[in-house]
């Protein structure tokens, strides 16, 4: 980690030693216009001198100055004008009325503060940019949509406010006690089109916070998504370094890190299993959110608990202007969102979604055979989401919101073993059958109180409870005298309390500090009975329970040492398990605008710690299928720690053309790797659910990931093109496995390229996307041999000396989609048709090598064929 320290030192050195040029100034004005005299000083000194036209209009100046002091030159120019220049930041001055002429009650410095809201719904907009072009200083609204620019001389300023997906506005505002409310109207796009974007929107995007993936929700909603409906995790795959583990399902891999290293937050509460339909789609319905922040790589110190990335989603507060309704139907689910004002200062949002395949094929099927024997077979599966949020504003700067989410999956099967493609053959009474009951759910409630304590001090208190419950039940009856019954339950509950305080100290410094206390309870149980024959029965009953607490404090600064620099140092300290582990982890990110309109450089370094490991039993295929368990660090298993460094640039080559490049490096200690990579679930029950038994299947190891990400986006009025290239490696090694050098990790993808093109033709929008990437690693046999045993015949084996020494064939897929907006029955409609895998290329997604008479036989499992999908959405 010496390299990280050197890099950190270099950054600090650059910041500290940035020279302040001493400029020779010569001003010689004899009863000239004050405005011109001020411009002369500004030009010669190379500093910002901001003044109101109203203030200097008609005023004259007489001054003769020869020196190098900007303050002296300004004082000379403003002599006898009743005005004075006040320094607001380094090299920035504002001309105000001198104290003698100003009203005595007027303060010398004021805070320009307010809220940025959606002009249609009054929804507050977190993350909006508020910028003073003349001072070249700005800030970003907090979670309450609040901003503050303190220590400003009391004049009016030109203020530009922008937010992704909204049309920017520019106003003249004066600081003081007034809290301004700045409404932004959604960009005049055609029904959430991603194609037509204003220049200013690009600018907002161009000035994003380092490490933060910025994207408007409307654009995310419109990105292609496999099941047809808008899914956040599917849409995020259109950004560099992000993809799902499987072809269409699986967890989210960000920069090569496995899914359990990502933190998913919903209104401040963590979500432990954000998936439906066996990870086909996420619980994050894009339409229900007002803001989404995804930090890849090093993230701010206010976040902790994971070592790869953070996804922070905020539910909509609900429209305060009038009721709004969205109804949608996709190939797998139906959904609605209602938002409306509840009272003068209150609003709510209620959303629901449910899959309907069980309604089509039925959940229960009473059957009867010719001999009158009856049975009830079951083919039930559905998932559901219910979200609600209520927000009340007691007064300006005083808000309370309560968010609720409950979602889950329910699989209930009872079917004969001998299934065939003839579905009618399933529905008959049978002695030999299997039953599977899988239910898993997330339930969370979060309450957040936001209070403006003063012009410069904002406090947020968040209390939440989040639980993840899962049950996997199985009953197998393969013979009339044998059966297996298992009931496996996982219960994880987290309760937390957070206090965050933001202090807007000056234009240069915006401090944030907080404390976060968490209690987690883990409980798992397994009851299994295996009746092997009429007289032989095995029972297994186990309970595993643990609870841990964690307290974290953090402090971070949004420091703008100059008009081109944004620096965010931070420190997070956490105490886990009653003092068992204590970590203080620093973080630093900065952005430097080489040319604010053309080129910006970004960089971030940080260390993160994760006290939870997600493990999966690798023996039993009757349980632990969808409910991988989280295990807290303890005396026997260390937490994972990671160093992350990333840097890059963003360049707007011209209007509508944005190019970004990032390079990253991550080094992880304390990762848990499978002790036996070749073990697959092949037993009815494994060693059990005891944590020790589970940990026995893993060994501590190291992980490393590095790579580059390039993206280019061209946006024109009627077409757009997005190119994304990611090149990198994700590697692991463990000394306990005898590995001296790193090898490919499970989700290592050295190269991937994605292309998305869009074209708008009237009310039609056509999209084509290409996905090309390296195949996943696989362990390829390099030899064969025979070895015998005292009890068995000689057996031939394929020699696989190295794990993941080869790759599956490259993956390639092309999707096409067409979308049309129209009005019907007084509502706005959007209809989409999506052609998944339009070329019907059967990609190899898994491979097995089997010994055969000819040496080895390759058995491939292939991906999905061509699939037509649809989605229709109605908005009122």
């Amino acid at each position: 980690m010496g390299g990280v320290r050197k890099l950190f030192s270099l950054i600090v050195l650059l910041l500290v030693t940035a020279p302040a040029a001493a400029q020779a100034l010569r001003v010689d004005v004899d009863d000239g216009a004050l405005r011109e005299a001020l411009l002369t000083v500004r030009e010669q000194a190379g500093v910002d001198v901001v003044f109101s036209e109203r203030l200097v209009r008609g005023k004259r100046s007489t001054c003769s100055y020869d020196g190098s002091d900007v303050v002296g030159a300004l004082a000379c120019v403003l002599r006898d004008t009743g005005l004075e220049a006040q320094r607001v930041r380094r090299n920035q001055y504002v001309v105000v009325q001198s104290s003698a002429e100003a009203a005595s009650s007027e303060p010398d410095r004021v805070t320009l503060a307010g809220y940025v809201v959606d002009g249609h719904t009054d929804e507050v907009l977190p993350g909006a940019h508020v910028y003073l072009p003349d001072l070249r200083v700005g800030t970003v609204t907090n979670e309450a949509g609040f901003f503050a620019l303190p220590s400003l001389p009391p004049v009016d300023y030109r203020v530009r406010v922008s937010y992704l997906g909204y049309a920017p506005v520019e106003r003249r505002l004066t600081g003081g006690g007034v809290k301004h409310t700045i409404p932004l109207d959604p960009a005049t796009l055609t029904s959430g089109s991603i194609l037509v974007e204003s220049e200013a929107e690009d600018e907002t995007e161009f000035t994003s916070v380092p490490g933060l993936l910025a994207e408007s929700l409307s654009r995310l909603e419109a990105l292609p998504s496999f099941p047809g409906e808008s899914d956040l995790f599917q849409a995020l795959q259109w950004f560099p370094g992000i993809r799902k583990t499987g072809e269409v399902n699986g967890g989210m891999v960000i920069r090569g890190a496995p899914p359990d290293q990502n933190l998913y937050l919903l209104d401040g509460a963590p979500v432990y299993h954000p998936w439906h339909a066996f990870s086909l789609i996420s619980i994050f319905q894009t339409e229900t959110f007002k803001s989404i922040k995804l930090y890849r790589g090093s993230f701010p110190s206010e976040y902790g608990g994971r070592i790869s990335s953070v996804l922070d989603a905020q539910m909509k507060d609900g429209s305060r202007r009038g009721p709004r309704l969205l109804v949608g139907l996709s190939p797998i689910s139906a959904r609605f969102i209602v938002e409306a004002p509840a009272a003068e200062n209150s609003s709510f949002m209620v959303a629901g979604r449910r899959s309907y395949i069980d309604k089509l094929i039925g959940r229960e099927h009473p059957v009867e055979n010719s001999s009158g024997r009856r049975d009830t077979l079951r083919t039930g599966y559905y998932f559901y989401d219910a979200s609600a949020k209520f927000t009340h504003r007691f007064r300006r700067g005083d808000r309370l919101s309560v968010s609720y989410y409950h979602g889950g999956d329910d699989l209930d099967l009872r079917l004969p073993f001998d299934l065939s493609l003839d579905f009618s053959s399933w529905l008959r009474p049978t002695d030999l059958f299997f039953e599977v009951v899988h239910r898993w759910e997330n339930r969370l409630i979060s309450s957040r109180y936001q209070h403006l304590l003063s012009d410069r001090l904002f406090a947020t208190v968040t209390a939440y409870s989040s639980s993840y419950l899962a049950r996997e039940g199985a009953f197998l009856r393969p013979t009339t005298t044998s059966a297996m019954e298992s009931d496996y339950r996982v219960d994880l509950r987290e309760t937390g309390l957070k206090l965050d305080v933001e202090y807007f100290r000056s234009l240069d410094h915006q401090f944030q500090a907080g404390i976060h206390a968490v209690k987690r309870d883990f409980e798992s149980s397994l009851d299994a009975t295996i009746r092997r024959s009429a007289s032989s029965t095995d029972d297994l009953s186990q309970v595993s329970a643990a609870n841990e607490s964690e307290v974290s404090i953090y402090v971070q600064d949004w420091w703008q040492p100059g008009d081109r620099w944004t620096v965010r140092p931070g420190l997070r300290m956490s105490v886990f398990g009653g003092g068992l582990y204590t970590h203080a982890v620093p973080g630093l990110s900065f952005e430097y605008a080489v040319d604010p309109q053309f080129l910006r450089l970004k960089m971030g370094v940080g260390r993160h710690v994760q006290y939870l490991h997600r493990l999966r039993d690798r023996y039993a295929f009757t349980y632990d299928l969808v409910t991988s368990r989280w295990i807290p660090a303890d005396e026997t298993v260390q937490p994972s720690t990671a160093y992350q460094v990333s840097g890059g640039f963003a360049s707007r080559l011209s209007d509508g053309v944005l190019v970004e490049a990032d390079a990253y490096f991550r080094d992880v200690d304390g990762a848990l790797l499978p002790e036996d990579e070749f073990r697959t679930k092949n037993d009815l029950v494994g060693p059990g659910i005891d944590v020790g038994e589970l940990l026995g299947q893993y060994v501590p190891g190291e992980a490393r990931a590095y790579g580059i990400e390039l993206s280019a986006r061209v946006v024109r009025p009627d077409w757009s093109l997005r190119l994304i290239y990611a090149g990198g490696r994700s590697l692991t090694r463990s000394a306990l496995l005898g590995e001296d050098s790193y090898r490919s990790a499970r989700y290592d993808v050295p190269r991937s390229l994605r292309v998305l093109g869009s074209r708008e033709l009237g009310n039609w929008r056509l999209m084509a996307s290409l996905d090309l990437r390296s195949g996943y690693p696989t362990s390829v046999p390099v030899a064969q041999y025979v070895v015998g045993d005292p009890l068995d015949e000689d057996q031939r084996y394929l020699h696989r000396p190295q794990v993941n020494n080869g790759r599956l064939p490259p993956y390639f897929r092309m999707d096409l989609s067409a979308e049309r907006d129209f009005r019907m029955l007084g509502a706005d409609w959007t209809a989409r048709v999506h052609l998944y895998n339009a070329m019907n290329r059967r990609n190899v997604i898994a491979r097995q090598y089997v010994p055969s008479a000819d040496g080895l036989e390759v058995q491939n499992r292939r991906g999905l064929p061509i699939l037509p999908l649809f989605d229709i959405e109605m908005r009122l």
Binding site: F417, D418, L419, S420, L421, L432, P478, T479, T480, T481, S482, M484, I530, R532, S533, S536, A663, D676, F678, R679, D683, L684, I708, Y725, G727, S741, Y742, S744, P750, R751, P781, V782, A783, Q784, Y785, V786, V787, D789, P790, L791, D792, Q795, R796, Y797, L798, H799, R800, P801, Q802, N805, R807, Q848, A853, D854, G855, L856, Q859, N860, R861, R862
Partner: protein
């Protein structure tokens, strides 16, 4: 320079680090049977997987093979008639005694394979009790499990006789042998072929476990296994068949090897050798063949109790 860096970033980061692997890895197979004479050792090498397995090509006949046991070193010489087979040198009939420590070494073209351990106490099967149901039961059968893109499982309904076999064996130890590290492999192996991956999960015809954790009755360890014999129809009688019942006592070296050797399509067995694959371990073994009659009675077959190969 900038172009060079860009090229490195684009392509350098994407280099695959798959390392070439020497195809000719040494393969050793040898067992020291407690209470018996020294056995032969097989020394082979791995060969290319892209073609049928050729035993002659795999055989290694120029290795140096040595065993240190009982205070003396025994050299093994290649058998000129059986390529890859090494026989103990002319030191007389060396018997392998329980509690002896040993170390094995095979060298071939710069590669050295080594293993060591302790010879376990001999094991002897006691009672064998076979229980047969009166009639067959219906069962879901499957010829093989393969990756498939189809939802069809290939399962069908047939009939089987599930047969229980209870065995016991002596629970003894010797100096140098730790009962806590003693493992048992018990196997029931009918000579009539039957296999169904679904049913196999419920059978218990081959199990490996810690000996100390197995129940004891009258000073003897007991284990009950279950195997099945398939029949065509629900009224078919149990066919007369022979079943071999075997038991192996060993350290964890052989137990790990045996527990990981039954899925050649997924993995290779865990070796206890450094510098080679395969196994060289000391074991104690006993086996008995039993005839199971259609009426459910059973009788010991007149079969010598020796290592079954």
């Amino acid at each position: 320079m900038v172009c060079l860096m860009a090229a490195l970033m684009l392509f350098g980061t994407a280099c695959d680090t798959v390392a070439p692997v020497d195809e000719s890895r040494l393969v050793v197979e040898g067992y020291l049977t407690s209470g018996g004479p020294l056995s032969t050792v097989q020394v082979r090498r791995t060969v290319s997987p892209n073609g049928p397995y050729d035993p002659a090509r795999a055989a290694v006949d120029d290795a140096t093979v040595e065993l240190f046991i009982g205070g003396s070193t025994i050299s093994f010489a290649p058998d000129s008639k059986e390529k890859g087979t090494y026989r103990p040198g002319s030191t007389g009939e060396t018997m392998v005694a329980a509690g002896q420590s040993f170390s094995f070494r095979a060298a071939w073209r710069g590669t050295v394979a080594e293993a060591s351990g302790i010879v376990p106490p001999t094991v002897k099967l006691g009672e064998v009790d076979v229980t047969v149901p009166d009639e067959p039961i219906s069962a879901v059968l499957l010829d093989s499990l393969v990756l498939s893109d189809s939802i069809a499982t290939g399962l069908y309904t047939g009939y089987i006789y599930p047969i229980e076999v209870a065995i016991s064996w002596n629970d003894t130890t010797v100096q140098g042998w730790s009962p806590e590290s003693s493992w048992i492999r018990a196997q029931i192996r009918p000579f009539s072929a039957f296999s169904s991956p679904v049913i196999d999960l419920f059978l218990r015809s081959d199990e490996i476990f810690r000996e100390a954790e197995q129940m004891t009755i009258d000073g003897k360890r007991r284990w009950t296994g279950l195997y099945a014999v398939g029949v065509r129809n629900e009224d078919d009688p149990l066919p007369l068949h022979r079943v071999r019942i075997s038991i192996v006592r060993s350290s964890s070296d052989y137990a790990r090897f045996a527990a990981s050797k039954d899925a050649p399509e997924r993995r290779e067995p865990v070796t206890n050798l450094s510098g080679a694959v395969g196994i060289f371990a000391a074991i104690a073994v006993d086996s008995v063949d039993v005839y199971v009659e259609p009426d459910g009675s059973s009788s010991i077959a007149s079969h010598p109790r020796e290592v079954v190969r």
